[in-house]
């Protein structure tokens, strides 16, 4: 009798355990699978100060979306890989995202990296959204590569034509970093400035590893321009502009959106003025969501982002990816790069909290107003908006 009772207790306990396990497993399988997308940015290397902030912007978007229940109940999840800002490392990252992580869409940046990834993205039909790469060639990299930020065509053209038409600068000079980021933007400035009616009197390059730019600077000085456009990266631009000023060049210096770099203003002090840089994202005076976004940076990181305009786009890119997933799920399509691209072209027009409206055009570009800022008393202040 006792043996029978003990056996039945064991059996009951076993049934209870198995039942619980099965219920948990059933409940777990009912939780919706996460929707994963890739983010390939420089997390190390000389561009990491921008890259890490880019990732943070998207991370906030993902957190905000998931806090509201995800995309139709599916949590959004980002897979972040390091490109070091280098094309070769970018290809490795893209390969891993496609073949190992199997994501249907990635966010990436840096012109050289985007160009390197493009053939792979097109072959494997992975939608690639470029956030911040400025080279005009990004718009011609194939069916699966789109930019969500204006290319150098937009911000550099705006600054070139504004310098000529509104500020009366007739003689322009260009000093550019001899790589993917510099060459494209330099050509765009030259062409836009000449088209507006100006004359390019000097067009000089410098090497990424140079520490002395005196030769190129003196050639520019000899040409006596009214405005000097510098197209470099954050690691070299402070020294280049510093040397321009030390050689007695007090002309207006302009740059592209990458030159909107508050730390450079701190490093160069009052010597940086007069300096103008464009911004293709609205500032606090243009968009009521921006003060809260800036405050979030202060609270989270104790500082404002190194690349505030880009992080605004990165935040909105997280929302864009969510919209694409939503469309694909709504249309009962498998989550593939091909269908994510279909979603992008079907939705076409988006309205985002940090950067305003965006329309995907046939030429793979986006058109946005350009906000021109100048440095005054150590800070960037708005000058004009060019539509």
């Amino acid at each position: 009798m006792m043996k029978c009772t003990r056996l039945s207790r064991i059996l009951m306990l076993s049934a209870l355990v198995v039942g619980t396990a099965l219920s948990a497993s059933f409940a777990w399988s009912q939780a919706k699978a996460p929707l994963r997308f890739g983010v390939a940015m420089p997390l190390t290397g000389s561009q990491a100060s921008y890259g890490l902030d880019f990732v943070e912007g998207t991370r906030w978007a993902v957190a905000d979306i998931n806090a509201k229940g995800g995309v139709d109940g599916h949590p959004l999840e980002m897979v972040v890989l390091d490109t070091v800002g280098d094309p070769q490392a970018g290809i490795s990252a893209a390969n891993k995202l496609i073949h190992v992580e199997k994501v249907p869409v990635i966010l990436t940046a840096w012109s050289g990296v985007v160009k390197a990834i493009a053939p792979l993205a097109n072959r494997e039909k992975m939608l690639t959204l470029s956030v911040g790469a400025s080279s005009p060639e990004v718009a011609k990299l194939g069916d699966y590569v789109y930019t969500v930020t204006p290319l150098a065509d937009v911000d550099v053209k705006a600054i070139a034509s504004y310098s000529f038409e509104k500020l009366g600068k007739k003689r322009g000079a260009v000093l550019y970093l001899n790589n993917e980021s510099g060459v494209g933007g330099a050509r765009t400035f030259r062409s836009a400035f000449e088209k507006a009616g100006g004359q390019i009197v000097a067009y000089e390059a410098y090497d990424a590893n140079a520490s002395d730019y005196s030769g190129a600077v003196l050639k520019i000085r000899a040409a006596n321009p009214d405005v000097i456009h510098v197209q470099g990266l954050i690691v070299d631009m402070p020294q280049v502009i510093g040397q321009l000023r030390q050689m007695g060049m007090n002309q207006l210096i302009t740059s592209y959106i990458g030159g909107y770099y508050p730390k450079m203003v701190q490093q160069l002090g009052p010597a940086i003025e007069p300096y103008m840089a464009p911004n293709v994202a609205p500032g606090p005076q243009d968009n009521p969501n921006i003060p809260g976004f800036i405050e979030r940076w202060q609270k989270t990181k104790g500082r404002v982002s190194n690349a505030l305009p880009y992080t605004q786009y990165m935040y909105d890119s997280g929302l864009l990816v969510a919209e694409l997933f939503k469309w694909v799920l709504k249309n009962n399509l498998p989550v593939t790069g091909e269908n994510m691209r279909k979603a992008l072209l079907a939705i076409k027009k988006f309205d985002f909290p940090m950067t305003g409206s965006m329309e995907i055009s046939e030429d793979h570009e986006v058109k946005k107003p350009v906000y021109l800022l100048v440095v005054k008393d150590g800070k960037f202040v708005p000058l004009a908006t060019v539509k």
């Binding site: 190390t44 990491a48 100060s49 390059a205 005196s214 190129a216 000899a222 020294q239 030390q246």
Partner: protein
């Protein structure tokens, strides 16, 4: 500004900007001469020097002179760990030269990765502002940084020269460089001499990084690129020539800077690598007066032969 003053301006700025590179070349060739290794770990030591000064000055808010001393001390400690825990081990094992190269390179990469973890990867300058006031002398722009760099470079090179020719330790360095085993027989401690060599190299490294860091932003990976210039200068100056390496570094900087007057500026970066290529292929022992004379004799002989055949 006339053409002559453009050339003078380029020469002045190129020379002053080259001073950190000259100091790195001297450090590199000093270790090569005495310790007999191609010390690619120097890039790691350069990063240690920079970040030690950066942390002391910016994070601890201590005075710059103290930051430089701490930078020097930590660079020396890093250098000295290489000797007993790395080089000595390889010497005892009679390891091939390639192993020394791998060891020193890996040490550089390790230090760069470690410092990146500690300080991040964003390039930072040593001082919050990198602009220095300028003077116009004649029509030549001279910044205070230029003058500081030239002064530091000249003083350190003179001191090193005097140290080598006038002090016992300096003479010991030459003896060990010539033949370490024979020097030991004469009672000279090769080990102590190597320590003194690393100490001297650390001074040059710290001074060079102080100058570089007060002129622009640096991160942990940039010293390896800077070191390539030092290696090229060492090759050009002849392996074993400390002051010829310094001269080579100066001439290379001048040529690179002046080249922009004759070639498009986009090609300036190639000049360094063209020199490296030519030096390795045609002047593996360095480019010196004897090579020039030899080249002239060979050229004359070839012309005579061709004339004879014609």
């Amino acid at each position: 500004m006339g053409e002559a003053s453009v050339v003078v301006q380029i020469c002045w700025t190129a020379l002053s900007t080259a001073i950190p590179m000259i100091l790195f070349a001297v450090a590199f060739s000093l270790v090569l001469k005495v310790v007999k290794i191609w010390n690619f770990a120097q890039a790691g030591f350069m990063a240690v020097a920079f970040y030690a000064m950066y942390a002391t000055y910016n994070l601890l808010q201590w005075p710059m002179w103290l930051a430089v001393l701490i930078g020097l001390a930590l660079t020396l400690i890093a250098s000295l760990t290489l000797e007993p825990f790395g080089l000595d081990v390889l010497r005892r094992r009679k390891s091939p030269h390639l192993t020394y190269f791998i060891l020193t390179l890996v040490m550089s990469l390790f230090l760069a990765a470690f410092l990146s973890m500690l300080f991040g990867t964003e390039p930072v300058p040593l001082t919050p502002e990198i602009m220095s006031p300028v003077k116009i002398v004649g029509s030549i722009v001279m910044s205070h940084w230029d003058l500081r760099a030239i002064a530091v470079g000249v003083v350190l090179l003179l001191l090193l020269h005097q140290f080598i020719i006038r002090t016992r330790d300096g003479q010991y360095m030459l003896a060990v460089a010539d033949n370490a085993e024979l020097a030991e027989l004469y009672g000279i401690s090769a080990k102590r001499t190597r320590i003194v060599t690393f100490f001297a190299a650390s001074i040059f490294i710290t001074a060079g990084m102080w100058l570089a860091g007060t002129r622009g932003a640096i991160n942990a990976h940039m010293p390896l690129q800077m070191l390539i210039f030092a290696v090229v200068a060492t090759l050009l100056g002849g392996t074993g020539g400390i002051f010829t390496s310094a001269l080579a570094a100066a001439i290379l900087s001048l040529i690179q800077a002046l080249s922009v007057l004759v070639i498009p500026s986009q090609w300036q970066g190639f000049v360094l690598y063209v020199f490296l290529f030519v030096t390795i292929l045609f002047f593996p022992k360095g480019f010196n007066v004897r090579n020039l004379k030899l080249a002239a004799i060979l050229g004359k002989s070839a012309r005579v032969m061709r004339a004879g055949q014609g």
